[in-house]
């Protein structure tokens, strides 16, 4: 058994780089659909187990260092300014997180993700502006698919957002202005997160109400009005509230 596992592991490890590229490719393609996105989130478990305080065997310990939770930035890492990292007090960060260079500052931890997310939101605002000015149907279609992509990307950020916010609240030092800014940004983003949860649940509730009332016209209008958020309720069976909640539950 042991030799079989080792041989398989060695055979597969040979293509490690290819797998890394393949993973990134799959992430790029799948993030546009809610179904592929759900499998990406399932795969986050591989990156999260490194934060469990367990004695792992040496091989696994090495492998865990390369498994990242982040798939919004597609593996590219944008470092936060070095001066920030030097000023931050990481004394209170629990050892199990400190071992993997997790900072006590929310902004430093989430810097790469935030930069990418902000660029995506900026792109969305520009598209929205163009659509509003031109009022063209083709631009609406493009903006709607971009917005669905943005929904999926935002949901991929929520886990890290909660994780790093909690670490910051556990180990915060208000002795530097950036800590305060970071705290405020964390709170604002958490409010946005709960706001989007409320929007999602309300949308599915309204969809189910319209379906139960057996009024195809109302349902048609609802789907048409929310075409730009169809990633949240499309693709799944709509025979019950629970099955329609797939994206909410699996993200």
């Amino acid at each position: 058994m042991s030799s079989f596992l080792n041989n398989t592991k060695n055979a597969l490890s040979g293509g490690a780089t290819a797998i890394k590229i393949a993973t990134q490719l799959v992430n790029v393609v799948s993030s546009k659909s809610s179904r592929g996105f759900a499998t990406s989130v399932s795969g986050k478990i591989f990156a999260l187990i490194k934060f469990l305080n367990i004695s792992y065997p040496y091989d696994l310990e090495i492998a865990l260092k390369t498994w990242n939770t982040n798939f919004l930035t597609l593996g590219f890492n944008i470092e936060a300014p070095e001066a920030w990292s030097e000023k931050v007090n990481n004394e209170n960060v629990p050892d199990i997180f400190g071992k993997f260079y997790v900072s006590s500052n929310f902004l430093i931890n989430l810097w790469s993700n935030l930069i990418v997310a902000l660029s995506l939101v900026f792109g969305f605002l520009i598209l929205y502006l163009f659509e509003w000015l031109s009022k063209k149907e083709s631009l609406f279609k493009f903006r709607a698919s971009y917005q669905n992509f943005l929904w999926a990307q935002n949901y991929s950020l929520y886990g890290d957002l909660v994780y790093y916010t909690i670490i910051e609240y556990e180990s915060i030092h208000f002795d530097w202005s950036l800590s305060f800014i970071s705290f405020i940004i964390g709170v604002v983003l958490l409010v946005c997160l709960f706001g989007s949860f409320y929007f999602h649940l309300r949308l599915i509730y309204r969809y189910q109400q319209a379906r139960k009332n057996n009024d195809p016209e109302v349902l048609k209008n609802l789907v048409r009005r929310n075409e730009d958020s169809s990633v949240l309720f499309g693709d799944f069976k709509d025979d019950s509230f629970l099955s329609n909640l797939f994206f909410f539950g699996f993200s």
């Binding site: 042991s2 065997p57 696994l60």
Partner: protein, 145 residues
Amino acid sequence: MRDFALSIVISLLYKYPYIQTIIMLIFNGVMLSYLLILRPLIDFLDSLHQLICEFIVFGVNIGVLLLASFDENGVEEKQNRKEIGSFLIIANLVFNFLGLLVMLTKLGIFIFRNGKRLFAKTKKKKNSTRRNWSKVVFRRRFDEK
């Protein structure tokens, strides 16, 4: 929601790894039951992919739970730990390969289903170019006469 809940468990209960692994296994069990009972996805291939992924994650959770229980009971079990470690590494590789395989299968199905139509369109275009070309040739000849 799962990612959200997992992050809370990881960041708040870091002093109790054994409890963390049990909670993670419960989450996984709930998700598996949800997929098996409600079958929320319309596409069969997507359902199958999601189900296989959840089973892989289930295996990973069991592996991690075993490691945590070794620690909890103060058992060394070097060989077993090594085997579980190898299993987790293979599970990660298979998980990633599977995503790529599903994507390629979908691409293959798309080409198989729409290939004839796409091919017919290309053929039609080629024919239409020939027709246009012949028209041009015919017109030239006609004009010369």
